[in-house]
Amino acid sequence: MSTTATTTLPRIRGEVSYWAYLVPGGALFLAIIVLPFVMNIYFSLTRWPGLGDPTFIGLENYVRLFQDEVFWTSFRNSIAMIVAMVVVPTLLGLLLAAVLFDYIGKKFSGSVSSGLRAVYYLPQILPVTVVGILWSWILNPQTGALNVVLRSLGLDGMALNWLGSTDTALPSVMAVMVWVQVGYPVVIFMSALQRVDPELYEAAELDGAGWFTRFRAITLPQIKPETFVVTLTCTIAALKVFGPIYVLTRGGPENSTNVPSYFAYQNFFPKSQVGYGAAIATVLTVIVLLVAAIFMVLQARSERKEAEGR
């Protein structure tokens, strides 16, 4: 039997078209995603406190947005979030996964490495508010565990107001995010490494290649697809980050940890400036889609290059 034969089956008389199977999902999709998305774009062109009728004002919200100091701060903080949620976890995760899989797994045992992997992954499965509430207590200036320990060691000068001062709030949030995020690349990269043919390593080892050379010449190129997925999904998550900011700092102090999604939330709900909030959300959406598009183009290009190289 030819495998290229189309899988669409001829219709039995009176049988419904395949389109019917798309009706429930499609209707829900239109109502819950497409319609709200369009409405949000419309809201972004209006002035509206959430009650009464929106007043159409064209692009005024966007003009105001680009002159708003807080808006630019929030996007600068997005870059800090990308460092804390993508760059550092990916590099650390790569190193940890390679050492756990390649070194600990082989020189000790598989159970040691999978046990350690579970430890690194644990923060990933917790609800973000639990993580946030735990850390905001640990970092609390008066009763928090960190400062209590520092004071008992006589290091009163180091017992800072971690989340409450403009100097330390952003670095503290970043440190928490690294802790939250690092397990994800570790797990993905460890499973990616299982895909790599061990014979490649054996051959390289026989040729006298050291651990680092093997890592650079075999491991990195082999797990490129997973690296793309990890960096793409984490970058999008970093751009959208909301929960940790809400629970840890509420964007403060003085907006030093504000991010676009929290800035939009502030305008939607506490301030009731729906039009302005919608404009922030729209700009964020455009940036997210742009970043995703850039990633995909880069990935396609690198795959093409590899195919040509062979």
Binding site: F29, F43, T129, A192, E205
Partner: protein, 295 residues
């Protein structure tokens, strides 16, 4: 997992000369030490939480956060339990996440059947649309959804959250399953058709049983993702009685009655369901994460 490690184990063959093997012998313990210290550092917040969840506030201010409690103090746990009405929040979280997991998997399967096996016209565009929907930040949907929920009287109801996440999760599910079903063996479908099975029968008698492992991974993912969701439940569920565990926990923050044992005991029982769920489904999940990554 461990099987793959076993297959690679024999690589520590006799090729390394004795001298360098000796040097590596010391090195391997150093590396294990560094990695373990990293692991311990990851666990510190949990250890601190456990140490202080059952320690009285007096003992905390005298002995600090790093000692074992001398007496077990349960008032923090009791205080948290009563203040948030924990069983109610647990039930809300279970109902929301459980319903979403089942409904979103069903919707994904129906959509993917039409796209992957039915190969309806324009399916590439439709799959692209579902993929795009995955990336749209919830921020750009939240206000219209809030507005719509108020209009139809679902504001402050867990069903608003159920419907919204059924759709959001099924967008991902459709995208993933459509490509899985796209590679479904045509011979099986043709054989069923020769036996006179209708499309509906084929879906439930042929496609469903074969894709069940993938469907169960999806269902577990949907459950956990929905369980941990924060933004939309925060906006939609303002009444105490409709809130989920994450939202109720966040609402208590900054409350002056939240003393150290209450915060820690509260965090502990709030993360327990997620950890239990993870332990039960760990094997399925690690397989699933891989499947999700290489999609």
């Amino acid at each position: 997992m461990s099987t793959a490690v076993v297959t690679t184990a024999p690589t520590t063959g006799p090729v390394t000369p004795a001298r360098s093997r000796h040097r590596r012998g010391a090195m391997r313990w150093v590396i294990l030490g560094v990695i373990t210290v990293g692991g311990i550092a990851m666990m510190i917040p949990f250890v601190i939480m456990l140490l202080n969840a059952f320690k009285s506030p007096q003992e905390y201010s005298n002995a600090g956060p790093l000692t074992l409690p001398t007496d077990l103090y349960f008032d923090g746990l009791i205080n948290f339990w009563n203040r948030v009405d924990y069983p109610e929040k647990l039930w809300n979280s279970i109902v929301i996440s459980g319903t979403v997991a089942v409904a979103a998997t069903l919707v994904s399967l129906l959509n993917a059947y039409a796209l992957g096996i039915g190969r309806v016209r324009g399916r590439l565009w439709l799959v692209g649309l579902f993929m795009l929907a995955n990336m749209i930040p919830q921020e750009s949907l939240v206000y219209p959804l809030y507005f719509m929920a108020k209009q139809v009287g679902l504001y402050n109801s867990i069903w608003a959250v159920v419907i919204i996440f059924t759709v959001i999760q099924s967008a991902f599910g459709t995208y993933l399953l459509a490509s899985v079903l796209g590679t479904f063996p045509p011979a099986l479908l043709e054989a069923a058709r020769l036996d006179g099975a209708s499309r509906w029968t084929i879906l439930w008698r042929v496609v469903y049983p074969i894709t069940r492992p993938t469907l169960s991974v999806l269902m577990i993912f949907f459950f956990i993702w929905t369980w941990n969701e924060f933004y939309i439940p925060l906006v939609m569920l303002i009444d105490n009685s409709s809130q989920t565990i994450p939202v109720a926990l966040a609402a208590l923050q900054g409350d002056r009655l939240m003393d150290v044992p209450t915060i820690n005991a509260g965090s502990l029982i709030s993360l327990l369901p997620a950890v239990l769920f993870f332990l039960i489904f760990q094997r399925t999940l690690t397989r699933g994460i891989t499947a999700g990554a290489v999609k």
